[in-house]
Symmetry: C2
């Protein structure tokens, strides 16, 4: 059961990383919307809380990584929009 | 508990919809990578399976919506790349 969860976790978090890398490289945040990023970021924090509440190792694992990468995107958006 | 899950589900799926809308409007799929989309799509299918296995209503709800929206993105990518 957790095997399926971990496979899911690896696929969805890995799919998210190229976006972070691309934004970091290009510094182009024009196509990212801040309200959308903040919604996503808060959503992931709630998923993480939910993962702890239902004691799901794969959800805790996946959302711990995604909370960091989505925070980086929020940070990039605020930083590069000002410049 | 499910309240937190549902709040998370609504935030993360809603954050995903503008991307689908934007791609549909602009037909610009150049910045989307097919392997990434396929990875994400398969990942979501696994999350959905995992949601059923652990009997989590909010995971089933969230991933049912996301499986459709990510499938639409895969479809757009294949369709508009050919044109």
């Amino acid at each position: 059961m957790e095997l399926i969860g971990f496979a899911a976790a690896i696929l969805t978090t890995a799919a998210f990383l190229p976006q972070v890398y691309k934004t970091w490289k290009t510094k182009d945040v024009s196509s990212l919307s801040l309200p959308m990023l903040l919604m996503f970021f808060i959503g992931i924090i709630l998923w993480l809380a939910y993962g702890f509440l239902i004691n799901s190792p794969s959800m805790i694992f996946a959302n711990s990584i995604t909370v960091v990468s989505s925070f980086i995107l929020v940070y990039f958006k605020i930083k590069y929009s000002k410049e």
